[in-house]
Amino acid sequence: MFWDLLKKEFLIELRSKEISASMLTFGVAVILIFSFSFSVSPRTMNTFAPGLFWVMTLFIAVLGLHRIYAYEKEFDAFGFLISAPVDRGLIFLSKWVSGTLFLLVADLFIAPPFYLFLQLSARPDPGMNFLILLLGNLGLMVLGSLVSGLAMRAKMSEVLLPILLFPLASPVMIAATKATAALWSGIPFRDWQIWILILLTIIISFGLVGFLVFDHITEE
């Protein structure tokens, strides 16, 4: 059933391209604004860049999360979905996994122009960089999927989502930014592994919470 739900998410996105198009356009626009707004030395930019990257990712995630749930509100497809004999925790998992993959793809497309336009000089290990990106995205999306499930029934869900998500996402943002900054500065892994452990803890604990409480969150 999980694979059917996941396939449905991808098929919808493949048809509409609403999530990827909005994420990519927004991401590129933010990069251009950053590159034209900051006239600082490359050294200062290298210090700020990890934070800027994750702030941009958070904004992109909100855009994607809103669309992931909005298309199911249109014809009340979500009502039909949750009235079916399906474990609602699996619906949460499919939203989380698909959202993470959409965000990851968007980040991978946005990373080269970000690096180029902000004239960054860091040469981080690509494998480690990808690991931080994956964990950061999983962390943002686990919280986002949970909050979106809560907010989607509200009339002003598009306003409610960032208001609820941003404070909750602060630990993920701090951990991902610190880990990225440490990697880009060439600091040995053992000195910043705590941030990876924090990300893993958030992913596992909120993943379990989401899976277990999504039943009740979706009920009116």
Partner: protein, 231 residues
């Protein structure tokens, strides 16, 4: 089949359903009637497990209805006001996905046959966002034909249908008069309800004001009660 005991629901402290108790037995087609805003759709959504009651209990086949109770949803099909399907998907894709959700093994030919029966064969591959209200209603009928249910909850099955669509829907409910199936339908056409339902529940201000069968001898009394309530 369906048992409702002392059910209560309020929205913003305004009571919508007040201490509702009734049963629907196997083989019954029950019409749920009443003015707008008397809680008919809310009742259906609660039986489907979409909305939590403030008090009371709902059970289907002895399984308590609740957010975590998959077993109670296994034999219930809820078709609400909205299409409840994916606008970007075609009718065929929507039926295939819905079939998977309900663990139905519907093949391509089976789905094509159902779509032919409801008059949507030619539009089977069009995204349903271009469908008219009547076509979406026919698609809901296709869902009811595809999925094996014991209890069908259908909110206004005739809404937006043309004469042919109404005829098709009426025929469908005639074929569903079987001892293993029950239907709870939100209706606004008393004459249709009197002809096709085995029982009518009349709701007013969240309470059942009349619960009686629809034999020919009851028609005059039903019309009198119904019209006095609606006017």
């Amino acid at each position: 089949m369906l048992s409702i005991q002392h059910l209560r629901k309020s929205f913003f402290r305004r009571p919508v359903l007040v201490d509702l108790t009734f049963q629907v037995g196997p083989g019954e087609i029950v019409g749920l009637m009443g003015k707008n805003g008397t809680g008919k759709s809310t009742l259906l959504r609660m039986i489907a497990g979409l909305s939590a009651p403030d008090g009371g209990e709902i059970s289907v086949h002895g399984h308590r209805v609740g957010a975590t109770q998959i077993s109670s949803r296994q034999s219930v099909l809820y078709l609400g006001h909205a299409p409840g399907l994916y606008p970007g998907f075609s009718a065929r894709e929507n039926l295939t996905f819905a079939g998977r959700l309900y663990h139905e093994s519907a093949d391509r030919d089976g789905i094509r046959e159902i779509l032919r029966e409801v008059g949507l064969e030619r539009q089977a591959d069009d995204p349903i966002k271009v469908y008219s209200q009547g076509m979406l209603q026919r698609l809901k009928l296709a869902l009811a034909k595809l999925i094996s249910w014991d209890l069908l909850l259908f909110d206004e099955p005739f809404s937006g249908l043309d004469a042919q669509g109404r005829e098709l829907t009426a025929r469908f409910f005639q074929t569903m008069q079987r001892p293993d199936k029950s239907c709870l339908l939100v209706l606004h056409d008393l004459n249709w309800a009197l002809t096709h339902c085995s029982r009518i529940l009349l709701l007013d201000q969240g309470k059942i004001v009349r619960d009686a069968g629809c034999g020919p001898e009851t028609h005059t009394e039903w019309k009198r009660v119904y019209h006095s309530l609606m006017n």
